[in-house]
Amino acid sequence: MKILTAAYAAVMNLPERPMRWAQGRLRGGRLGWVFVAPNLAVFALFSFLPIVIDIVYATTGGAQLLPSERPYVGADNFASLLDCTNHLDPNTCTRDLFWHGIWNTLRFVVFQVGLMLGFSLLTALVLNRKIMGRGFFRAMFFYPVLLSPVVVALIWKWILQREGVLNAGFMAAGVTPVNWLLDANWAFFWSVFISIWAHMGFYTLILLAGLQAIPAEIHEAAAMDATPPLRHFRRITWPLLMPSVLVVFVLGLIRAVQMFDEIYVLTGGGPGTATTFIVQYIYKTGFADGVRQYGLAAAASLLLAGVLLVLTLLQLKGQRAKNG
């Protein structure tokens, strides 16, 4: 045992000499850089470098993949994406599919994030109560989160297609079947519904953790004061749950802006462009069209990154304001 301890100590002390040597030479805060260097290297390689490459692609044109073979076009790709007579009407834009993607994404974010926050909160409040089968329901609400987005989309496609499970049920009940994925409004509705169904469990879990972190004494004190339930929620639960709500809001927002996989498998962005979101536009332009316009796709992804950056900064600002 003593030998082992000594060996362990010897191994642990190995870096002492080089560290002392480094300390002697690197003064002030410079030694800190040595410690963060591995992390910085990983960040530079997998985050910073791709951003730089994306900028290179966004400022070059043509259909070549290698940057050295691509002609420099400056801000042409951005100008082309942003060129519209009326930005509210995609059909007046040079890149109308990009703007269809923008407006569809915006509409999706408003409905999906708002409804998901509401349903997650409601579910968390119910699951936080002492109801029968609470563990079972918690597991059930979380279960869809474990499924792959492609599996989720395929399951729902089987349900919603013209001769799917839902229409079979309708026909059995003597109700005229509806072609859910052929009508633009229904296709959009189901896109929102399915994404809420698939992701709600995760956000419910965060809110549930937030609810359980509220000290029980506060609830007890309110109960002793006979505080009405609505007032209890408004004055106690909601303010104390706010940090968790903010996290759910921002995570949900970012996920909604990036929405692609489920909807692409479910509708392919159709009918027409009714469920084509911005990430699908980027994918199609860069990787699925016969002539791949990597520059346009990169410029669109930089614009998307800008939006996500603003959202993240707003979250940070909100958190700082909350923390005083």
Binding site: G268, P271, G272, A274, A288
Partner: protein
């Protein structure tokens, strides 16, 4: 002692790298997709080739068609591609393809055998060279559910009937037999082009540049949109699916449509999946200005990045050899691209219905218009096909008018062609 160990280690490393390089010599990897059984059939022939040529190892990786379309060009650009691949839209990988003329045994045989389709694989402006081994010749054709016609008591329109006559007939059959739709088109610009060309679409200006929108194109586009609106054509295929290609074979196999506008590459599925469940029949392409379908086909093409182009050429020479090629076509039930075999000599294992279908496909192949060949051989034809599908789908979904779609198609094609030229 340590020096001895070091030397021994270096010797081992050198042996290992030498054996690795020996293993790499003569090893070729081919990416393949199947319409029916093309990859397994090629694998069978590859085994025979390897038995006769033990110094070459052929590995065939079967993958989905979508991977060939979307992943292969990126792999090739990154220098990580296979030695060869089965490709149908040559423009997507043309810049990486290699001319095998210096490596094949008898270039004159290749020219004489595949001269009609080799130009499709050549880069723009290049008039000679062997860039690929055509694995089949395809032609678009309508396939009808004859049983439904019989049940409805409606006669099949005679050879030379127009698209309008066919639309009226299938509509009558669909109504009489309570079939949901009269016809379906694969969601493909290539399939639409076949119908548009029969309406007189030219697709190119006199100087050879794309000029997609003309009276012929408009005639078919307006009919197609109308047929989608009145349920003559199954709307789901084009309108309810965004994204890319979708075929309507399952609908046809399940007797949900009377007439299916697809092509000869479906023969294996027709024979296997439908068999004699109902009577199906390939008919002549409808005629308006011309009675043309669209030609097409896939080819195994070799890439510049290959370290063993000689071995790729040896394998291609083996497959291109007339008896082997005939056997290959018989195994895959494809129309041969080899000139002599097009006249006969392939022994197919087909049912009577499939034999008749093959003959009908062959007859349709003989009527393909020059515009069809020109469009099939145009390197950037996907820059024409994709906007056609995207924009007409938007019209069918009620998001834009036909006139707006025409303007967008023109712009999209011009943008893509300009991007490809940079």
């Amino acid at each position: 002692m340590s020096r001895v160990h070091l030397l021994a280690g270096l010797a081992l490393l050198a042996t290992a790298s030498a054996s690795a390089s020996v293993a790499n010599a003569g090893e070729i990897r081919i990416a393949c997709y199947s319409d029916g059984n093309e990859c397994p059939a090629t694998m069978d022939l590859a085994k025979r080739f390897m038995a006769a040529n033990p110094d070459v190892k052929v590995t065939i990786d079967e993958m989905p068609y979508k991977s060939i379309l979307e992943s292969l060009p990126v792999q090739l650009a990154a220098g990580q591609g296979p030695d060869a691949a089965r490709v149908t839209l040559f423009g997507t990988v043309m810049q990486y393809m290699i001319d095998l003329t210096p490596y094949v045994k008898n270039p004159a045989y290749w020219e004489a055998s595949f001269g009609a389709v080799l130009p499709w694989t050549r880069p723009p402006g290049v008039t000679t060279g062997i860039y690929g081994l055509p694995t089949q010749f395809t032609v678009t054709s309508p396939i009808v559910n004859k049983t439904l016609f019989d049940q409805a008591g409606v006669k099949l329109p005679a050879d030379g009937a127009s698209w309008d006559e066919w639309a009226a007939a299938v509509d009558k059959v669909a109504k009489a037999t309570k079939t949901p739709y009269g016809m379906a088109f694969d969601r493909s610009g290539h399939r639409f082009a076949a119908a548009a060309i029969s309406m007189g679409a030219k697709y190119f200006a006199a100087d050879g540049t794309p000029a997609v929108i003309d009276d012929g194109f408009k005639a078919m586009a307006s009919r197609f949109v109308k047929w989608n609106a009145d349920n003559t054509v199954e709307k789901d295929v084009w309108a309810s699916t965004g994204g890319g290609y979708r075929d309507a074979f399952e609908e046809f196999a399940n007797a949900k449509i009377v007439m299916y506008h697809s092509g000869s590459w479906q023969l294996n599925r027709l024979q296997k999946q439908i068999g004699d469940a109902f009577e199906w029949q390939v008919v002549g392409n409808p005629c308006d200005k011309v009675c043309s379908g669209m030609p097409g086909g896939a080819a195994f093409v070799a890439f510049k990045g290959s370290k063993n182009p000689k071995d790729v050429a040896r394998f291609f020479d083996f497959l291109a050899d007339k008896p082997v090629y005939a056997e290959w076509m018989g195994m895959t039930n494809n129309i041969p691209a080899q000139a002599e075999l097009q006249k006969g000599g392939v022994s197919y294992k087909l049912s009577p219905a499939a034999t008749a279908a093959l003959a009908a496909f062959g007859a349709n192949a003989a009527k393909v218009s020059p515009t069809g060949y020109k469009l099939s051989g145009y390197a950037q034809n996907s820059a024409i096909y994709n906007p056609t599908v995207d924009r007409l789908s938007q019209v069918i979904a009620g998001q834009m008018t036909l006139d707006q779609a025409y303007a967008r198609i023109t712009q999209d094609v011009a943008d893509s062609v300009a991007a490809a030229k940079k």
